[in-house]
Structures are given as structure tokens and as C-alpha cells.
């Protein structure tokens, strides 16, 4: 009797005769790994020992005031154009889903035009806007004007660069947002509707937050891409960004290769930081979508089962022995 009550009190989690099998030999993996490591060592050696790279110059200019300012301008261009692009893209994506055919067509036309023409050409035109339209005014269309501006006063080189990048990017992002909105189960909007929620609230509270799961990864991709696209702003011409600044020094010092390396190292560094940020944004919008989208740690913060131990789902996912399940499977079986 004593044994049975004790057994009932402490659930016996020990596995009898747990299997400790000898793994299948995989010599191919070892060979492949060694080959790759040797190649990597050769590459590093080739980089470090090659005199022509002038690492001393690289290290000197990496911290140069002009370069660091260039980094600042590049970051400013990247973030402000992405911010404008995201707002515009969401608007375009919503217009694309509108019942109003004029809205739909306008959105379609915008995307068609800005995706279909080279960004370099667009930037040149934004740079020339002051020549093409010397004055801007606010007033009644085809009627009287209330305020008149000189275009070049309003749209400086910086704004031409930001607008040029943003308007182009918005076209690409709009397609990403559209795909994201389309990925949300229509049952979600229906359930919200049935609760009496208004269309705007449904979009803002229910559909967009779920679409973000699909929207964020490619948007991170686009942000990283934008970081480097900013090097094209010399088309405006805007001449303070990282690429132009390093190029200017290279021309002055006749050391093109070390200065290309300086720029590349900075781009790589910023990209790395952006990737870390993206990871956290993805994790935020992945909340509630099962343990599959979040690295499941059946630790103190993981979801817990009835008895306070990590939940079964979390434990199964953490073991990594199952394929990535469909994230919707758990929610809407």
C-alpha cells in the first residue's frame, strides 16, 4: 500500500532503459566541414596578409570624422525614407483592397510605375524637380493659389533623396503589406465583425497585428537593402552619405581599395545591428503563434502546463525533433 500511495504522489518521470544508441557514421559531414574550414582559413589569411588592402589605412579612416558623419547621413536617409515608405505602403495596400475601383486602380498604377522605373532615374528626376517645377503652390486645383513656394527652397537635396528613396520603396513594401494582409485568416475579420467592430478597428487591432508576422521579415530585408541603396543618392546629387564620403577620400588620397573596405565594414556593422533589431521585432509579433515561431525554451518564461511544468507543446517544440508545424494549425484546426 505504501508503495502505491508514494507512486501516486510523485509522478515517476524516469524512463526505464533510456536508449543511448551509437549514431550513424557520417564521414561525408566531417570531410565537408574540414574542407570549408580550410577554405575559410585561406580566405582570412588572404585578407589579412595581403599588403594591398592596407589595413593600417582602413583602421585610420574607419574612425575618420567625414566617414562617421557619412554613416550618420546614411542612417538618416535609411530610416526616414523607410518610415515614410511604410506609412505609404500600408495606405497603398489598403487602397488595393478597397471596394472603390478608383482607389484600387490608383494603387495599382503607383506600384506599377515606381517598381517599373529604375531608382537611379527616379532620384535624378527628384533632383531636377526644382528645374522642372520651379514653383509649388497651395490652392484650388486649376483655380486661385493661396501660398506659393520656390520648389528648391522646400525640396532640398536631402528631401529629394529621402522622398525619392521612400516613394520607390513604398511600391515594393506595398506588395509585402498586401501579401501580409492576405495571409490573415478571413475568419479573424469575420469574428471581429460579428462582435460589432468597425472596419478601421478590425484592421488596426486584429488584421494588421497578425499580418505583421508575415510583413516584418521581408521588411527587414528591404531595410537592409535600403541601407545600401542610399549609396545611389549621388544621382540627386546628395553628397554626404557614407559611399560618397569614402569615395571622396579615396579620390583625394589615391587609396580606393582601403576606403571601399571602410565603407563595406560600416555597412556590414549597421546591417548586423539591424538584424538584431529585426529578431526582436519578429519575436514581438510572433507572440501567441505557438512555440514554433519562438525559440521555445521550456524555462521559467515558457508556457506551462497544468502541473506547473513546461507545457507539452513547448517541450515538444524545444526538442527540435518535429518539423516546423503550420503556425495556423494550432489556432484554427
Amino acid at each position: 500500500m505504501a508503495v502505491t500511495t508514494e507512486g501516486a504522489k510523485v509522478p515517476d518521470d524516469r524512463v526505464p532503459e533510456r536508449i543511448h544508441a551509437v549514431p550513424v557514421p557520417r564521414p561525408g559531414r566531417w570531410v565537408a566541414a574540414v574542407v570549408l574550414l580550410v577554405l575559410a582559413a585561406m580566405a582570412v589569411n588572404g585578407l589579412v596578409t595581403n599588403e594591398k588592402f592596407r589595413w593600417d589605412v582602413v583602421w585610420l579612416y574607419l574612425r575618420d570624422v567625414q566617414i562617421v558623419r557619412g554613416v550618420g547621413w546614411t542612417l538618416l536617409l535609411t530610416f526616414s525614407s523607410m518610415a515614410i515608405a511604410i506609412v505609404l505602403a500600408v495606405t497603398l495596400a489598403i487602397m488595393r483592397r478597397s471596394d472603390n475601383p478608383v482607389m484600387r486602380s490608383a494603387s495599382w498604377f503607383y506600384i506599377w510605375f515606381f517598381r517599373g522605373t529604375p531608382i537611379y532615374t527616379q532620384l535624378v528626376f527628384w533632383g531636377l524637380i526644382g528645374v522642372l517645377y520651379p514653383r509649388l503652390s497651395v490652392g484650388v486645383p486649376f483655380g486661385p493659389e493661396f501660398f506659393v513656394f520656390t520648389t528648391s527652397d522646400v525640396i532640398t537635396a536631402m528631401w529629394a533623396a529621402i522622398l525619392g528613396l521612400a516613394l520607390n520603396e513604398a511600391a515594393y513594401l506595398a506588395e509585402i503589406v498586401r501579401a501580409g494582409l492576405g495571409s490573415v485568416d478571413p475568419g479573424q475579420a469575420e469574428a471581429a465583425k460579428a462582435l460589432g467592430m468597425a472596419d478601421a478597428a478590425i484592421l488596426r487591432r486584429i488584421v494588421l497585428p497578425q499580418a505583421m508576422r508575415v510583413i516584418v521579415p521581408p521588411t527587414g530585408n528591404e531595410t537592409i537593402s535600403m541601407l545600401k541603396t542610399t549609396s545611389l543618392v549621388l544621382a540627386v546629387p546628395f553628397t554626404l552619405d557614407l559611399t560618397f564620403a569614402s569615395g571622396a577620400i579615396a579620390n583625394r588620397t589615391f587609396l580606393p581599395i582601403p576606403l571601399l573596405l571602410v565603407a563595406a565594414i560600416w555597412y556590414l556593422l549597421i546591417t548586423s545591428i539591424l538584424m538584431v533589431g529585426q529578431h526582436y521585432v519578429e519575436r514581438y509579433y510572433g507572440r501567441g503563434f505557438g512555440e514554433t515561431s519562438r525559440p521555445a525554451r521550456p524555462g521559467p518564461r515558457g508556457p506551462r502546463g497544468r502541473d506547473g511544468r513546461p507545457s507539452r507543446q513547448a517541450a515538444i517544440a524545444a526538442s527540435g525533433t518535429t518539423k516546423d508545424a503550420d503556425p495556423f494549425l494550432e489556432v484554427t484546426p
Binding site: Q188, K193, A194, L195, G196, A198, V331, T332
Partner: protein, 259 residues
Amino acid sequence: MTDVPMVEITGLHKAFGDVHVLRGVDLEVTRGSVCVVLGPSGSGKSTLLRCVNELEEITAGRIHVDGELMGYREVTSRGRTRLHRLHPKVVARQRSGIGMVFQRFNLFPHMTALRNVMEAPVQVRRRSKATARARAVELLERVGLTDRADHYPSQLSGGQQQRVAIARALAMDPELMLFDEPTSALDPELVGEVLAVMRDLAASGMTMIVVTHEIGFAREVADTVVFMDEGRIVEQGSPEQVLGNPSQERTREFLAHVL
């Protein structure tokens, strides 16, 4: 006022393009009663339910809920009556008084159970977060899920998810609850807990229209059982009548298959 039926459907037709799903449905559901709708798949049961809270635009007929014409306004001028579609805001207001529970739960996966229940009162009724939270806690207790309030839907079993969905609908203080096959997506062992909550709800006097295949539930809880086939109501009456002694051959045939 009490004479006015909670739901009054007259001459309802619904066509999706060429597919004529509902072909003239007349139905009355009195206040405080439970109406169970049975029928083979494709008979238009779900569509009927979805028409009641305007998730589907009806093709012909009238639906009154609590004496109010749903989705339209009748305007008579110069002796001619025309229907004017209601503004989406008014439609949303009409819907907000009708709770709906879906076969696939449709809980908001990015919100915890508690947030799911709080969402509509805060967004639609403009309740304060604190008020909505207190009410949500109360409702989760009513469906027996107090200890699951902070779980995301993906961390709940199907039966628990459906009970949260019922709590979410109840948070809007509906006068009418629509259940669209609420147990069809559940493992057999989880059906009971959802039916228990629905039974409680019926006992509390809620007016309910339930589309289901649970004959036992119909027999026990329903005041009226409606049998539908091919977009029409074939037979309706008390559970004893329709389930025990059906007058139509089609009903007998169907019951023989499901019982």
C-alpha cells in the same frame, strides 16, 4: 413588447451567384427559447445563421431581430416602399447585440484569452480597460477558465478555445447568441465541456440559435428543432415531434443516418 419574437425571418432567400443556397425560409424564434437547426451539410444552416447577423448580404426577404429590420431601412415615398442599406456603423451596432460562435473558434491568436474577451467591449462599447477586465474575468470564470486567462489561444485545447469564444461573445451582453457548429471541430472528449457551457447559457434564459449535429443536445436543450434540407425548412416543432416522430420522409432518412 414581449410578444415580439426575438428573431423573425420571412421569405429569406440567399444566392451566391447562380448557387441558390436559401430558398424561402420563414422562421420565428421566441424570446428566451433555444432553436436547434439540423440538416445535412449544404442544406444552408450556416448561411441562415450568417444572414441573421449580416455576415452575408441577403438576396430577398426580411430578417427582424428584436423587432428591428436587419441591414436595411424601409422608406416609403409617394406610396412606393424602397429598402435603403444601413450605414456600416449602424450595421455594426446591430451586430454588436448578437453574439456569434464559430465552428473554428476564430479567437484572436495574438491576444491572450483575457484580451480576447476584453477587446470588443473596449473597442466597440468604449468601456474602460478596468471595467472590461473585471467583466472578462467574470465571464472566464463562468466558462470555467479562470486559470487560463493569460494563455494565448495556441496554448489552449480546442474545447477551452471554444469556451473563450463563448465568453468573448457574451462580453457584448448580447440578447441573441448564434452557434455555428460549435463542437464540430473538437475532439470527441472535448465536446462535453462546450455543450455544458451552452446548456448553462440556455438555462439562464438566453435566446439561442444553434446549428449542430449533436442530436442529444437538441433533444435535451432545444425548445424548437428545425430540420433543413436544400435551402428550405422541411420540418419544425418540438424536439419530441421532430426527433421522436418526424412527419417528413426526408427528416426520417436524415435521422436514421445520424442517430
